[in-house]
Every structure is written in structure tokens, then in C-alpha cells.
Symmetry: C2
Subunit: 407 residues, 2 copies
Amino acid sequence: MITKIEGGVCAPLGFRANGVHCGIRKNKSKKDLALIVADVRCATACVYTTNLVKGAPILVTKEHVKDGYARAVIVNSGNANTCNEGGERIAEGMCKLVEAHTGIPAEDVVVASTGVIGQKLSLEPVAGGMQALCAGLNGDADGSTAAAEAIMTTDTVSKEIAFRFRAGGKECRIGAIAKGVGMICPNMATMLMFVTTDCKISPAMLQKALSADVKKSLNMVSVDRDTSTNDTLCVMASGLAGNAEIAEANADFKAFCRALNAVTTAMCRMIARDGEGATKLIECRVTGARSVNDARLAAKSVINSPLLKAAMFGADANWGRVLCALGYSGAKMDVSHVAVTFRSAAGELPVCKEGRGVEFSEEHAKKVLSEEEIVIEVTLRDGRCKATAWGCDLTYEYVKINGDYRT
Amino acid sequence: MITKIEGGVCAPLGFRANGVHCGIRKNKSKKDLALIVADVRCATACVYTTNLVKGAPILVTKEHVKDGYARAVIVNSGNANTCNEGGERIAEGMCKLVEAHTGIPAEDVVVASTGVIGQKLSLEPVAGGMQALCAGLNGDADGSTAAAEAIMTTDTVSKEIAFRFRAGGKECRIGAIAKGVGMICPNMATMLMFVTTDCKISPAMLQKALSADVKKSLNMVSVDRDTSTNDTLCVMASGLAGNAEIAEANADFKAFCRALNAVTTAMCRMIARDGEGATKLIECRVTGARSVNDARLAAKSVINSPLLKAAMFGADANWGRVLCALGYSGAKMDVSHVAVTFRSAAGELPVCKEGRGVEFSEEHAKKVLSEEEIVIEVTLRDGRCKATAWGCDLTYEYVKINGDYRT
């Protein structure tokens, strides 16, 4: 039983958070520095971008979590601290500032950055903001919200979620904050996402849960097929819920994995729905594939097709583009088995059966596709495997946002 | 010595062409049916889409050119004849109409279609248009132009090219017509392109030349990373130039390959420049790669990045997006070796050296990137291999065109 609760990363026992404007971003109304601290050392697992160009903070974080533990996360927005001079020194410097202000050793700090690539970053604004950041740390929902706001870039809404679940007979909590929403095609991790839990779990099992989860959650989200250089997903487990430590793949581990998946899936939907310029969340559910890999390739190919994304923006039931995207996805399939249905709050619209078009009312199609959440159901009838991918429509606004993002 | 000449597909000896409006498209001012006929049976080579969803005409054409020869090409626009009822019967019917009106056996006819996927196609308009189509066949530039116009869909300009070259001491000619400009990410062939030559060459060597050429030409073009279901590239060689038949990989074969590459490369540039909604041609030249495959992966990844494409539309020198696209391209590289320079008629703009940003004037950057043709030079300094890819910017117009293409 997984129940949604308030509080984001502060919902689990033992975590406080805050976010402030320190001056990395010029716009003073935008927070740009976030901090999450734990009362105790936490079992910590991370996954990072597979992009060969990696942000400097990722190199520093990898070192710091090598032992499986961490106690704090510091994040800035407005500058990716990537492809620049002295990036690692700056990232390490941010961790040392956390140590100076909280007493948490720098080597127990996770650091992340998001924003423009290739710009110099100075420690000065970070140093100047630390006092207010630490003074305002709190364990209420406010703290989580401030941190969620401080990691936003082109996001239009902040992204938080929390759930309650049971493991080892104890009530546990898991919460998260995340940011999207451009350069989103995570590969082993999303842009930036920080998950906290008070469930007691060993670092090894935490990493196992996380690595398995991202394959079906964050790696299945795509806004623009651009895999970022700074993707970082970090989970910290304080263990304060009082359950017996999860140290093997038992029933408690399964309960934790289900709760983790509830968090990551909710975040996938939030990130896709808030994709740069998006007006719609597109969810593609593929069933009947020969293998999970085929199902994933097929689902992701559909939500990545710029032609389909533009058609969804125009509420145009151009299902030939779904077939086309399936055909070049690399997934094995018998085209003559394929069925496609569009579905939304306004009803369902079967458009293709056995690889061929079926008659439909254009009026009904317009109604179904004018909703804000469109499900594209693809039935392959080749096997028993399935996958879901999340994306968004392609709009004028995406072009506008990215035509002059830097300036 | 390869010299540009007039005449498109009618430039080589032995070819006539025409295009008419027959009524597949509702707009009477748009031609929708094209025919190319040869005076003699031609050695013929084709490459087709790798999309698992294949247009019905491709299945019919494959049968017809199995013996290495053909004598005519019939093409309609306005309907892709794909994922519909009885598509193969219609495609075969189009070939039979060519036989009825020209005497050329149906099994010597290449057939292709382009337009919306999943719509019923009737033979009626094709049958009605055949008389005018055949009556107007001519071997002048007019014939080629009419055919080039009749295969356009969202293309804004018709695409023709022809060159003169020498093989076996004889003057030979090679010409082509093609169409783009959406669902363009050819994989072993482009959308639709028909090449004629009067050079005498065996079917086997013609196929060899074509298959090698597309890897460095048409497979390196991408407008939207959507590989079409109907891509077909067909080369017909009449042999009327009088040269000794090219039947092995000798100097004449090389001369032919160079001429073929001049045609396909010119077409790549035309297709990319006319990409749906495009205002700019983007050419990415990668040098210093460890392997040709690495160079191709890197170049294609850059011109495919929606973020970079939007930045080019906005004339924003956001080179971090070039680095990001290189990093996730799958190409092996040492990021600390990478240098990037933007170049156009307005000058050059080095933006990155050794994987890090270099200072530049924003004013100069704006000037360089406001041109209609932008070259992105990427130097990997890891080896001696290179590749070039062609694409275009991502604009409001692309979204507009594809938001309501079908209706």
C-alpha cells in the first residue's frame, strides 16, 4: 500500500532542505542554490548521464559517494559547471562550503549543477549565499519546496512528490525533488533528481534498486532526445524509519522498489508534462512485444518522433507517423499485427488494426486529441512484454525557448 | 573533371520525362504524377528505406528490378500508398498503366509514392492522367522539371541537378530529381530520388557504386530524424554515352562514383536546405576521428540535436549543445581534444578548444550565425577519419507544417 503524502524530500525522517537566490542567476526572483542535509549519514546510490561530456560536479560526486554514504546535497542552477576552466575545483569548493557551514565533511556531500554549458562559474555567489541557505534549512514541506524551486531552469513548475509505504512492519517514507525540462533524454539517470527516504537499506541494495528502476522509469522519458551532460539521480536513505535493514532481495526490498518506482514514475510524468514548450503529456504504452527491450525501443521511438510530437500539438490523428516511428525503432515486430489506439479523458480512438488504417470520425479525433494527456496504445501481438514511455508535444514555444536560451 | 550542366534527369542520352496533375491531390495547381522513360532497357540499382514499415510501391519495385534492369519510373505524390488496403495491387496497377500507354513491360517499371501514410489510393486519377503524361514526355530540361515538380510534397523548391564527366574516353552525363523534406533521416536511401545516366555500367557495378555512395551522402542527411517508410533512390544507366561497359572497379568506375557523389551530395544539400520550415542549411564537418564510423556518428548527432537546431534558428552560438551532442553520439572520443568552430560567409568563430570554451564577441557570433549556410567544424584530434552531415534549423514553421499536415 503506497499512499501519497506531502513534504517532498523533507517527508522522510531526518531530512531538512532549503533554497535561496545567491546571485548565479541575474534574475533575483529566481532561486539558484539548493541544499538538502540529513541528520545522519545516509546509504546513498547515484546514477549519472552516459554522455561522454560530463559535468565537473559528477566527477566530484562520484568520488564522494564511492563508499556508499553521503549526508548532504548542494545544487546550483543557472550554470552547468561543464566544459569550463576549473570546474572540478569549483564543485569541490561548493562541498567545502557545506562543510564550513554545517560541519558535514565535504567528502559526504553530493554536488550537482544545471544551466548553460561552457560558462565560467565563480564560488563567490555560492559563498555569499551559504549563511542564508543554512539558516533557513527546515524539515517541513516549505524546505523541500524551496529546494525544488532553486533547481529549476526552464521548468514552469517545481517538481516534488512523496509517498508513505511499509517495509519490515514499519511505516517508511520516500520523497523527491526533480527538474527538467530541456536536454531531456536520460540515459541511466535524469537531468537532476534527488530522492530521500527513511527506510533502512544497505548501500548495495539501494544501488541495485535504483539501477533497475531507471531502466523502466527515467530512461523512458524524452523531451528532445538530447541526453544532458549533467544528469544525476541520487537517493539517500537515512534509515530512521526503524525497519530492519534491507540487505537482500526479500519482500521488504520489493516493497521499497515499488515505492521508489511510484516516485520515479510520478516524476517522469511531471518532467514530460513540463517539457520545454509542451502543452501535452504523451504516454506511449506498448504491449505484446517479443522482449522488454523491443517494447522499450518501440515506445521510446514513438514519443521521440518530432513529426508525431508536432501532430499531437495540432491534435491531428496522423497515426501513420506512429507506424513510421515503430518501423524505424529497431524493435522486432510483424507490422501486419500492429494495432494503435489514441486515448484521453475525452474517449478512445482506434486508428489502426493489423497494420492498416481503420475509419474514424475526424470530429471525435479532434476531441480526443485536444486533451492535455494523450495515451498512445500500441499492441504488437508478437509476445507478452510491455513498456511505457513518456514525452510531450513539439510546439512553437520549444523553438522559441531554445532559439535564445543562452542570451 | 565534373561540370554542372542543365537538364536534370533528361540531361543523359536516352531519357524523357514529364509531370502532370492527375487529381490525387485536391489542389489543381500542384502536379502529382511523374514519369521518366528510357529509350532502352537500363542497368538499374536501387536502395530503399530500412524502416520495417515499407510502402507498397517498394515491394513491387524490388520485384521489378530484381534482374538489374528497368526502363521507366512512375511516381505519385499526395498519397504514400502505405499501410492501406490493396496497396500492392495499386502499385502494380500503376506499372500496368505505363505498359498500356508506352509499351514498356510492367515488370520493367519502377514505382514510388509519397504523401500521407494510411490513406486509400485509387487507380482512377492515375489512369485518367496517363494520356496527358505520356503525350507530354520530352527529353529537354522542361521534362525533367515537370517530373521534379510532380514529386514534391512539402518541398518549397523542386530539386534537379546534372553533371557532365568522362569515362572510358567518352563524355557521359548524370542527372537527378529528388524530393524531401519532412520525415527525412534516410537510412540506406533518401525519401525519393531518381538518377539517370548514359554512362555504360553493369547492374552489379551500378549497385556497388550506389550502395557505397549513400553511406556518405544520403544517409548523412537529416531533417527530423524520422526515417520515412517510402525512401527510394533509383539509378538508371542507359549506356548510350558509348563508353566501354564498366564491369569492374577500374578508373572508369572511380570516375563514375565521383560523378554520382557530385549528384548525391548536391541533392543532400538541397534537401537539407529545404527541410520543413528550415531557414538555414547546417553542415557539420567532423575531422580527426578514430574511425569513419565515429566521424559519421558524431556529425549526424550534431545536426540532429533539436536544441542545437533551435539555437541555429536563433543565431545563438550555444556551442555547449554541440559538445553535448558529440558526447551522446556514441562516437569514441577524448573530450579534452575537441575543438569547435562555426563558419559562414560572414567569417569564422572559434568557440571551443580542448573541450573548453574560448572567449568570443557575441556581436561577431550573431553576424556569423545569421547567414543562410552555417558550417560547424568539429576537430576531434583522435585520428585521421572524417565525415560530413547535412541538416537544417528547427523553426516555428516546422511545427506549423507538421501540426496539421494531414488535414
